[in-house]
Symmetry: C2
Subunit: 327 residues, 2 copies
């Protein structure tokens, strides 16, 4: 079952020729979740050949343009493409009036409903709870209300040992309780322990997304041990004062948090265009966390039960550049 992340945009507020503003496409068992939607997101989705008509849930961290401006075009294209499926949007509450006012002005005929799920509060909340996956908010601290998102698979049923099930002649109706972890009691009263009948399912996988925010050491407990952790690293340590002032984080701060939380894999992104290359972000993070990934548009991370596999970069390498233009 797929559990993968495609980076659609890895720049901060200003895009570059190589990096679009923030957007992630998260695929959990072929359910597509779009996380943030910077300008040009629909173009990246096409470029990376993602069948984006299958996106039914969009999560918007906060209402700054570089995380939102792609929504207008994406929703417009959904309408033109004849979409009929409900679209769920999770975001700070003000988005509803902004988007509805937009749709009134620019909207084409639309055959699908938009269902708004306002994000509120300063404590983590479960905002999606499905059979296979849950999504919780991670309240962050930025210049406007902002939330990270924690995606976690549900515990799976235990795997049955077919030969043992056959040996004990367990009827079909009793298989589900066994998969759920129960022992099996034979007609004569003999108890067959569950551990004999089953073996453990693969561990649940998880992905935590945190941007934009000043560093929040207290979230370590909520994201403890996640398989994949994306955190913004807008600045380098030498600009830590600026990070504090603008409520952003440095690469070093994010790496330290990743270490404290014992996450299995760390990805940094949202690089400020004031820097020419990403190399210093890797060097700074390596002082705290053993191996760090720096996001590039088009990178796909796939989390296998045993850990992370870096699948491939869809688009041509960015050669580590951030800002290669002079305007």
């Amino acid at each position: 079952v797929s559990f993968s992340l495609t980076i659609l945009g890895s720049s901060s507020a200003i895009p570059t020729s190589q990096r679009f503003p923030t957007a992630h496409l998260f695929n959990a068992g072929e359910r597509f979740f779009l996380i943030d939607c910077g300008e040009g997101t629909q173009i990246q989705l096409r470029r990376f050949r993602i069948r984006f008509g299958r996106i039914n849930h969009i999560f918007i961290s906060h209402l700054h343009g570089d995380h939102v401006f792609g929504l207008f075009g994406l929703i417009s294209s959904f309408g033109l493409m004849g979409r009929k499926t409900d679209l769920h949007i999770f975001s700070p509450p003000q988005l509803e009036s902004i988007l509805e006012s937009h749709l009134n002005t620019f909207g084409h005929e639309r055959q699908f409903a938009i269902i708004y799920h306002p994000l509120t509060g300063s404590k983590p909340k479960r905002i999606l709870d499905e059979a296979r996956i849950s999504v919780d908010t991670i309240p962050l601290k930025h210049s406007t209300p902002c939330y990270g998102f924690l995606f976690r698979e549900k515990e799976k049923l235990r795997n049955i040992r077919k030969e043992v099930i056959r040996f004990y002649n367990i009827p079909v109706k009793d298989i589900m309780p066994v998969k759920e972890g129960n022992d099996f009691v034979q007609p004569d009263g003999t108890v067959i322990p569950n551990a004999v009948l089953t073996y453990a399912p693969p561990p649940v996988r998880s992905y935590a997304y945190c941007t934009d925010t000043q560093i929040l050491p207290k979230i370590a407990s909520q994201i403890e041990g996640v398989d994949l952790f994306y955190h913004e690293a807008t600045f380098l340590r030498k600009d830590e004062a600026l990070a504090k002032k603008t409520l952003h984080s440095t690469a070093g701060q994010a790496a330290k948090l990743a270490l404290d939380a014992g996450v299995k894999n760390l990805i940094l992104g949202h690089f400020s265009v004031r820097y020419k290359t990403v190399q210093p972000f890797a060097e700074e993070a390596a002082l705290h966390y053993p191996e760090v990934h720096l996001a590039n548009d088009g990178d796909v991370y796939s989390i296998e039960p045993g850990g992370l596999v870096f699948l491939k970069s869809i688009q041509s390498a960015t050669a580590g550049q951030i800002n290669d233009t002079d305007t």
Copy 2:
């Protein structure tokens, strides 16, 4: 003096992996005019290495998303980049309230003024009149008020023949009247005809931009003989009924108009994603107009006094594709 056009987006309402929504960058003597601003325009400007901080005038043909949605991000980036120069926006009047409401919600600190120039009326109007160039509206017919734009250089001063000026000892103060086409009268009353003193300046160059619109044969007189004519060709003849219904044009209709108007060069664009390739657009247009250019993102057309030079395609060839994605 430069007089060139860069295609930033050549798709219609839905962008593709190869074609962004509509936007043109027109450079007249190093004055940069942005014409329409579809989603991702600022990214294309960076990709094509255009110093877009020099854009002081933006012309919006009409208020459909694929011609407007890039404005929000572009203006936001201007703010973040520290722009201080006034920005002039020419558009149907409703844009002002839309954009101002946006800037109130998403706006960063901004050190430059936006000056709105509402486009109105059903007759051509001069909306910009500078020393070297003028811009007139070309009223079009679409499902919402829509205007094309005619850019035309001002008549230049005549070139003086230096050796003749020297021969007649013409004082410096009398040079300008001669450049303006006047004869020179010597102290003894002898008239030296201007044609002896000067030769003609290069002819003025012009560019006409028309999208989105149903075909309007009556505009032929306004655009007569322009050096470069961009017209939308959303559909092919086989879908002419659909073109009529949606107030768009076919490739054949646009080419026939180009022939009637005696334009020197024709570029078609705004291709519907219902078609897989652009080849049929060229074939259909060739039935009416001898040589047609099909717009690709990144193409640069430079108009020399003697006619058109196709400079180069900045980005890799699109191989004539329109829609290569399946969503």
